[in-house]
Amino acid sequence: MSAALIAGVVASSIASGTSLLYATLGEIVGERAGIVNLGLEGILLVGAATGFAVTAQTGDPEVGLAAAALAGAAVNLIFAYLVVGRRANQLATGLCLMFFGSGLSALIGRPFVGTLITGLPRLHLPGLGAGAAARLASYDILVYLAAPTAVLIWWLLFRTRWGLVVRAVGENPAVAYAAGRRPASAQYQALALAGLLGGIAGAHLSLALTLTWAEGMTAGRGFIAIALVIFARWNPLWAMAGALLFGGAEALQLQLQAAGADVSPFLMNMIPYLLTFLVLILWGWNRQSAAPAALGRTWFGVE
């Protein structure tokens, strides 16, 4: 393996892991509040399509990014209304959200199929030379903000009063309620933040990686992110390691293809999924569950 190839793999694993990290962080926030959202894939799609459409219209990727984040939050609030406000089944509602997002993104993206945009600008870190090192130091803003965001989310969840309430609701809503908190309100806030992050994750795909819109372009990343939450044991800091690892699997596969390796792309595309399985099995072996105790359960209030 040449130095250039290694640098390429590292560079693109950071780039493709970024989107996964934002998505995983979003799902972690929601799940810490006790809500499983299987519709993350739909949020990513809406984020990717909205970000792309707005960027193509305004020519300003920052505006596109903001629109994507807001669209993600708005769509996730529909989900929140159903599972929190109407106490609907989380799994069924989540899958519906995936359908909703796939349809809505197809509608939003339709006029922009084939359009090319100038995506988020690459910011160069000063002081680094040419060649491989320069490639490692030239990313869009979302890449640089990814790790700080993970730390921020960790801080929010584990070091603030807000996070304490969110986690209490995820562990036992009845106790949180008895302690004078409002579980529904905490869950709405957590899901709004989750949608914001999901929208950003989708936007990173279309505004920084592909620079085009294609139907279903998230290709299951939303589901990988849900698996990554388990990998990360619901901890935002561990999510960074997970996203890098899985971004790396994807990047390695792309680099090998670019280098002309004689392996079917279909087999290499399986690598991230098989890796996910391996990790889930290893963690399952370990038996100690780190999941919030009330995860996925609908709280029906105090009668």
Binding site: F100, L107, M270
Partner: protein, 347 residues
């Protein structure tokens, strides 16, 4: 209560439920129409076109039945495990793997007569989907990985296996630009009825539904499955073999979805292609969920979703919209149902 009065009561509740659901559908159609209008399209024309196409002539209606086949089968594949509390979201992947193994049979035993070949392909389709679901079943039975997440992920792996084969070993020499497997021999084609595309798959689907209903209502197995679904720990204490039940039920469920894949390749496509299903497996999940796992409800909901997906076809053909746009309509129907279901302990 005399028997006839009880029957009347049941019919009345069914009618009330049907009319409530019709209202839900109308509201969803209205919301979807508003969205399409906002996007500069003509929803009313699309609705009228759909009705004319689907109910206007025998062929259109027959196409509706064709579309119902995979929905019925994938819905049973979800309903069966749901009775014991297992959530199979992997109908899509199981469908692909059933199609894959059936294709292996169709290409490998192409010298056999139809009488031999078709039963073999049916079994292969069942086994292909069944084994795929068994991965998730085994991981769940060993308490390693939750079946919801494993079946979801396997959905993405199965089409890659199909892709690998039709771009590689099974690539047909005459398809240069659009890779697909060689065409099946006539003996490997599932027969149709009366020059339509309606095929013996409909019989498979109805047989599966009847067997499913009989299993749940008339056998000890069905009873024990519901016991597991109600309280797994209590069921285990009663000596019900949970491990074996999980494996058997996941295998059977995946098998039913696999038959849907076998039907797609042997009756509709006549070869293995990469775009085998527009999300039948996922729609099957929603169908089963709306029907609450009931056999009769699955028929009604499959019909409804077949009509909805016809709207998708019409939008694609006459208004230049992607087929996926109709997913919005499906989701809105479900959103309304999810939102108005009473806040009881519904599943």
């Amino acid at each position: 209560m005399p028997r006839s009065a009880a029957t009347i009561r049941r019919v009345e509740t069914a009618l009330a439920a049907a009319s409530r659901f019709a209202l839900v559908t109308l509201v969803a159609l209205g919301a979807f129409a508003a969205l399409l209008t906002a996007a500069g399209k003509d929803p009313l024309k699309a609705y009228v076109d759909t009705v004319l196409y689907v109910f206007g002539n025998a062929y259109g209606f027959s196409e509706l039945l064709v579309r119902m086949i995979p929905l019925l089968l994938t819905a049973v594949a979800v309903a069966l495990p749901s009775r014991m509390g297992l959530i199979n979201v992997g109908g899509e992947g199981q469908l692909y793997m059933g199609a894959w193994l059936a294709t292996a049979g169709a290409l490998g035993f192409s010298d056999q007569p139809a009488v031999v070949l078709l039963p073999v392909l049916t079994v292969l389709g069942f086994v292909g989907g069944g084994l795929w679901a068994l991965i998730a079943g085994l991981l769940r039975a060993l308490r390693l990985v939750n079946e919801t997440i494993s079946t979801l992920l396997l959905n993405y792996v199965a089409p890659m296996i199909v892709g690998f084969f039709i771009f590689g070993p099974w690539r047909s020499p005459e398809s240069a630009s659009y890779p697909q497997s060689p065409a099946f021999v006539d003996a490997a084609r599932l027969p149709g009825f009366l020059h339509t595309r309606v095929n013996a798959g409909l019989v498979y689907a109805l047989v599966c539904l009847v067997l499913y209903r009989l299993l749940m209502t008339r056998t000890r197995w069905g009873l024990e499955m519901q016991a597991i679904g109600g309280n797994p720990e209590a069921a285990r204490q009663l000596g019900i073999p949970l491990f074996r039940y999980i494996l058997a039920v996941m295998f059977a469920a995946g098998g039913v979805a696999g038959i849907a894949g076998m039907v797609e390749v042997t009756a509709i496509q006549g070869r293995l292609v990469s775009e085998l299903s527009p999300g039948y497996g996922f729609i099957g999940f929603l169908v089963s969920w709306l029907a609450r796992g009931g056999a009769g409800g699955i028929v009604v909901m499959s019909f409804l979703f077949a009509v909805i997906s016809s709207i998708g076809d019409i939008l694609q053909i006459t208004q230049g919209l992607p087929f996926a746009v109709v997913d919005i309509l499906m989701a809105v129907v479900l959103f309304i149902v999810l939102g108005r279901r009473p806040a009881g302990r519904a599943r």
